[in-house]
Symmetry: D2
Subunit: 335 residues, 4 copies
């Protein structure tokens, strides 16, 4: 029998997770859904069929008929929900970020460590993207030699009006920070931010160049530009001592029309990372019961948040800022 | 509850289908397996778990606990198995070709038509490849204008020693014939074959240039070369009155090393068409019970075999050969 | 001192050759120009400076102050002009085709052979295109193994209204025939033509698929489509026993805008083959006085015309046609 | 009659310039050559024919038979030679950098301004590369919108053992600084340098990430890595408010062999920028006598050196450093 999954949060991301789950992946069943907006919850439940609605997310977590929980509610609610899952001994896949504050992240890490079971997976889905996986495999294979640079580009076509300068760094950059930690297998030591002028498309919000240095001396630069207009575009080139590897995420069709030889670009992350979102849930379902979540751990979620916080500090002070992590519990060794 | 699928044939293709099914796709269960080689059947059953072995494929088909059948046994066995599924009213996904002879294909079409339910899907999986689907969508969208040429390339790295000249045409070309019919939405009227000398790698076997003309005057040329050494490579360019679209199936990583900027190519069809195989089974499972199989119909399977047969005739006689199809039963209209 | 060149024909191609010559390439001087339309001749002369006008092309050829002649006048005039150059012992670069009829081609070959000096170069400029040169070098290098197929595409954006079905074959295909002979180093044995319906853009003119077989059994297919609308596009893929090489003629800029990742295509042959035209004249100037013209010889010009003639015959009769060449004079051995 | 050019410096770059000049470009003649190593000078002179040797470079400059001078001697000699050319009123194309020190650069700017004739062109040849020219044209065309970022990569396969950390910045970065000023049309305001660890291939020499900010707030980042092993690779992506343009400098041939679909990369700058070097000299020759050199002016040479100097300072102090330029003389307005 497949796992019975409960979903908390039925917004854009939650609805997309529900769609993947109800496709029958891994034999799972979307058994329960909660959203603060009950109409939204009902819409998702109806689309899936046989899904029960919960008014209270804690009741959903506590329900013995629910095997695992997927959290896609607002950031501020993450900590309480994840802590409840840990308390109930239930595996939880929580959308990034792990929690809204560093103290909450620390509390989750502490609770999971105390509990002695690895139950938390953070939804940094890029770790399941075929391109990044091939990049990590290419690095491990050895012919490229040790890494020196990782050049990253993170562009959204359009950003919501409420997105602030702070969120450009905190929201976009955490994806880049997590995937860089995944690829390089080490922590960041410091970070600087260099800010171009704002685009006239979004005069109150700057694009950013975030430059991070790892403990061993690899330099990672990230262009974060959430008003790029032309499409959603995530690029990465890993430069090693003997050669480089780069994402080449072109869709599988080339068109020659009206004087141009072109590839269509994705409009947003759902198209670009469709495989990653599906494989993330697939791997999570396979991992249930093993205490070995497949993607980012609670520690990874904490580390990404600490690093993003240092980036914010670097931007505010216009100076190179040290990234200061707590000591990693043994518990997460070889996570 | 998901469908309970029975698998007949546990060779390379059957084992791959079993792997996809047992990943929990569409909530399905691989409930039964038969292979003439019972050790091979057991191996597949063991890998999936909870799968029952059948000595007699007809018993498997007749078992009321089996909802649908997947046939991946030798070509010569297809007709009897598919006819049994039709007799039992069970949906069947049969590996290409539909059957070993044209008369068998006709018998299946006749039986299905008589039965009045569309139960047969033929495993021309390219109809589920994202690239070909985007190509068909681009054509339908209209800006390209009507089609004039379709240039196809079908290359295998290495072919088994027993593969004959006849099989180069019959085996490889049927995939191209089916996908061209899918893209263009019409039948072929005639076919010619022009043969280069054989490669010294396989001196008894020629590569071929198969040139087909559709009823409306589109020219489709297919290079079929099963000893191409460097990799598995399937290409297609559709040339229309205003522009062209071409498959651009590069893997998502580019490497710069030792003086080369390169993409790795696939070794065989399983890597290249992994998405197509998965989506073919996914769509088939969704279609169960609807009498509307998602991919190639029995008629499509028959039409591909007739066209390939004409190509063989053209090759033997070195002359342009007419493709002569029976009248399509109304039953398959809008299939 | 650089060569003093006389130009006969000041139309589109002649004016372009004049522009290249007057850029000072190889230290040459455009010393004389003739055109049946004297205003057109004057325009070219004025653009270059110091260029003398001739009413009579034969007088231009006979002028002792002219070292070499470039013929870009109408096809019908080629034979008389080239024969006059041979009679005067003057090197001549003649636009393709060598002459308007096969008998004229034969007369030129005979005259040059009798004269004992190699004076004639035919303007099949693709032999100077960096891509084709690299393709020939790659083949010679050996790792690819012997060739089996050459797939060619020849597309113009728009063709003049007077261009006939016959000229689609005779005009476009000669370029492909010459470059295939250059790449493969052998003659064609037979040719077939398969014709799709016409494009609605040019209902009186069909695109064509011309399929040629060489003496050793290489198959060369050429899509000739002069109304392709979207741009000028010349492609070639050489398929060998171990691998393939293909032209990849993308301009050096990639643009991401409005949802597309695109390269601009060339509008016509002058942009696409700008390097080839320049290097053709450069190599010709270097060869002056050596009796070793650098590109296509009179024999090559004759062979291309014979092969195109057989293609026309194949199209008219809808049947495979033998290519029948005269015996090549020893004189052209190792040309 | 073409210009009579004198060459000072017959090393790798000088010999390459001599080769271009002696191809007859622009009708020019390589009339004179000097090198401190007279054997090297003789070698170049012999290869060209009719070229006179000079023991004293000042005598070459002073020779009334020499119309223009090309300086490719060691950096330390540039200032004296360029000043002599200005004194003689002779156009001079000097290899980059303009001079070895900022004071020498200033002296040249002052002398040229006093003289009232624009005679100096600095050999930043990238301004003649088709890719960069198309990039500038695309920006001017307007659809891309104003620029925000310019991401640059400058990689050499191998560097000579004597190349220091300082020269990685001073030598490589000046090319990037000049081309960025050309593309963006403005000066730099500040510069930071972030240094990864050194490659084990060259343990005493670090690659660098140089981050520059222009007066208007465009951020330019340059990866300078002179030990990249795999090939010579120069990349640039200009990110604007509506879209991006990037160099796509692939050679015109794609190879599929041994499991890879690949393009060969260039081994060094001579292959990569062959067109740029030729067109630089061609444009220079056309400009002779106009007092409007075609490429980088003495002011551009000075500005590049000042900016590189600030980058060195930023690297030494590990802090963001202001770029401080003198006031540009009116004389260079619209240069």
């Amino acid at each position: 029998m497949g796992a019975r999954v409960g979903l908390i949060g039925a917004g854009i991301m939650g609805a997309d997770h529900a769609r993947i789950l109800s496709s029958g992946i891994g034999g799972a069943v979307l058994a329960a859904v909660h959203d603060a907006d009950s109409a939204r919850a009902r819409q998702v439940a109806d689309a899936c069929g046989g899904t029960q609605l919960y008014d209270d997310p804690q009741a959903l977590i506590a329900d013995a008929g629910i095997d695992a929980v997927l959290v896609a509610s607002p950031d501020e609610t993450h900590a309480a929900l994840v802590l409840a899952c840990i308390a109930q001994g239930k595996p939880v896949l929580v959308e990034k970020p792990l929690a809204a504050t560093l103290d909450e992240c620390r509390a989750i890490v502490a609770a999971e460590t105390r509990g002695g079971r690895r139950l938390v997976q953070v939804g940094y889905m890029r770790r399941f993207d075929p391109g990044y996986r091939m990049m990590k495999a290419a690095l491990a294979e050895g012919r490229l030699g040790p890494p020196l640079f990782l050049h990253c580009v993170h562009r959204n076509a359009v950003a919501p009006h409420w997105l602030t300068n702070e969120l450009v760094i905190a929201n976009s950059a955490t994806h880049e920070i997590d995937i860089a930690r995944y690829l390089l297998g080490e922590e960041f030591a410091s970070v600087s931010v260099i800010s171009p002028r704002a685009s006239s498309r979004a005069p109150t919000r700057q694009p950013q160049l975030i430059v991070l240095e790892t403990a061993s001396g690899v330099v990672v630069d990230v262009e974060a530009f959430v008003d790029a207009q032309y499409g959603y575009d995530v690029r990465a080139e890993l430069v090693c001592e003997n050669g480089t590897v780069a994402l080449a995420p072109n869709p599988p069709l080339a068109t020659r029309l009206a004087g141009q030889d072109s590839h269509a670009l994705h409009a947003d992350w759902r198209g670009r990372f469709a495989d990653a979102y599906r494989d993330q849930i697939g791997a999570w379902l396979v991992s249930l019961g093993t205490d070995r979540p497949a993607g980012s751990s609670a520690w990874d979620g904490y580390a990404a948040s600490v690093t993003a916080d240092a980036a914010l500090q670097a931007w505010r002070t216009r100076s190179r800022t040290t990234v200061q992590l707590d000591t990693m519990p043994e518990f997460y060794r070889n996570a």
